[in-house]
Amino acid sequence: MATAHAPSADKYYVPHGSHWPIVGSVSLFLIMAGAIAYLNEWLAGWAFLPGALLLAFMFFGWFHDVIGESRSGVYNHQVDRSFRMGMMWFIFSEVMFFAAFFGALFYARSLAVPWIGGEGVKVFNKLLLWPDYDPSWPTNGPARIGGHEDGSFQIIPAFGLPALNTAILLTSGITITIAHHALQAGKRTQLKIFLAATFVLGFLFVGLQAEEYMHAYKELGLRLSTGIYGSTFFMLTGFHGLHVTIGAIMLVIIWLRVMKGHFTPKSHFAFEGVAWYWHFVDVVWLGLFIFVYWI
């Protein structure tokens, strides 16, 4: 019977028992419980740190196991395909998460705001509720929520920092593709350089976004609380920035693995998974640049 469970690549590898998932469940619970405790003012903001650290520990442990199994050769082609499909569907779920916020932006901009301004059959909004409201985008609503003291605010022009950030992310999309080709061709030095360039560009993007946020908060009166414009702007760019940060950390991890000599020209799913993820944040950014900043 021992042979049935001995690692062999000719059948699908089914792991037998793992404590990492339960560590993951507990850590997610602790993060959520900590966030609840903070929001309900039961505890201070550090409350979700233990869970976050445990989650990081889980990622290291779980991926350590998987990388070990992968390098010992127990994964066959079919296992590899499961990982690939899993990653693709995960990215699809992320796309749908962003779709909710893009949907909110489109709905607010092309329906809710004009209706508040009295468009069509909603004419009584104009006549009775908010006669002075000018429903043009960008807006923080008839009550001029947030913004400067007089309720006004400015927005970030598309062709300044955002255009530069677009160039940075698009360039990083090219560098990671060069790195991928280098990996497939066995050119390890080129791989290391271009992969490093990719995450450097990623962190540069995040740094510039932080710079832009500070400018918006301090000088422009544009904050998360600045009506519907501030809400959609910061939630969309904020979640995107979070995903770029996560993606850049993933890039660092696979770069460290490259430095340790992992990945072969034929077998490098982790590299490709991260690359897909990176292209996904890239594409979301293009949507943001066009619909949030530009139009």
């Binding site: 059948k11 028992g17 619970f29 779980w62 499909m85 779920s93 909710a100 909110a104 009506g227 519907i228």
Partner: protein, 534 residues
Amino acid sequence: MATHAQAAAHDDHDHKPHGWRRWVFSTNHKDIGTMYLVFACTMFFVGGTMALVIRAELFQPGLQFVDPQFFNSMTAMHALVMIFGAIMPAWVGLANWMIPMQIGAPDMALPRLNNLSFWILPFAFTLLLGTLFVPGGAPAGGWTMYPPLALQGGDSFPMMIFAIHLMGASSILGAINVVVTIMNMRAPGMNLLKMPLFVWTWLITAYLLVAVMPVLAGAVTMLLTDHFFGTSFFAASGGGDPVMFQHIFWFFGHPEVYIMILPAFGVVSEIIPTFSRKPLFGYESMVYATAAIGFLSFIVWAHHMFTVGMPLAGQLFFMLATMLISVPTGVKIFNWCATMTRGSLSFEPPMLFALAFLFLFTIGGFSGLMLAIVPADFQYQDSYFVVAHFHYVLVPGSLFAIIGAVYYWLPKWVGRMYDQTLAKWHFWLSAIFVNVLFFPQHFLGLAGMPRRIPDYATQFADWNMVSSIGAFGFGFSQLLLPYIVIKCVKAGSKAADRPWDGAHGLEWELPSPAPFHSWETPPSAAIIARGAEH
């Protein structure tokens, strides 16, 4: 049968872990499936108890047992617990048990992820049920969490939001696993149009889950930031719109109701041919009808909100799109009837539940068609007619299919036959009381009784009393289910590998009980061919 012998040998010898580690560290699709089903059953009784609190209060007009705030908490929590804690985990449990066996796979594609998907749930429900004990009480604004009412929740508000985030994460990971398993783990020769319909319906369900659970996550995140961080998504003063929440929520919510019913279509499509001793009529049209329902589910969401003041064009579009759904659904009902036509029918417990499904789900479908008509819906909106409608599709719909599935596959799972006489008692009590419970609610709704109220005008007294009697009868009848299952596990008589003589499919080619690892070597083409006689 080399495969049988081999599989049986595995069962005896393999290192099945013992004690708590077997469950907490499990990567086995059957053990995880069992945990899902036990969890779902537990939550079913928790949610059922909440329903009985509601029906006890409504037994007579006036306020008897609970204060209105707690009554409202019960309606919101009953829905959240039943949807996310009972029906959905029950389906995932059945998927875990059956999909690898039905497609000839050794396990789910991503076994560790499978463990994570399950074990998130108990923690999520710790948070959700914990809301009952915090200042301000449990969420009382309905499971739909409409702002601005939901934003006025107390300490329970972020608990509800994060509980939903956890449930969503669990569902997404579980659904990814199902899709990957079906797309990548089929035995050679099991091509897509040979898959059993339970697998097909789950494939489309899983796709819907991956597509819409993140949208729910987005919606509740906006609620959270509106409450705590000053955003204006759902506040008109800042340029937002509370109705926008309803649009985003129901873009999730309508596919969600098909997530709960599509696997039921799959189960019924397995049970009816077995006990009609005929192949399923119109297999391919069933597949296409399921896909069509899945597609349509994305473009009908606003029929939940006809009265919010949508443009006329929007009302027309959503009314007509909704009515279109009755076409593929009608195809399914027709096919099930045609399968039974001139079949050699017998009425074991799974078949009884499938037949009740056929009749009673159809009633729910018809009332749904009534609700789809915009001008009529203006009258029905938020009345007990709506309550009757969705309980008809969820209780004798989804729930009966789940119970039918348990009675269908239980002998395969435990290798023992259950007490069929008792299961028939369970069926008849359920089938009678469910109608006593929900049918009068149609009358109440048409007469104008609103939903989610703890007290009502005296003209509604009689039917409320009838409905409450039905509720207690139905609720206590369900205690038979765990009793029958436990009795079967402990003392059932030995079940054959194919306990139903008309059953086809790969799961029946395995011994009973099914070995710990299902198909370590893929089934041969001959076995697949025998299994695939739809």
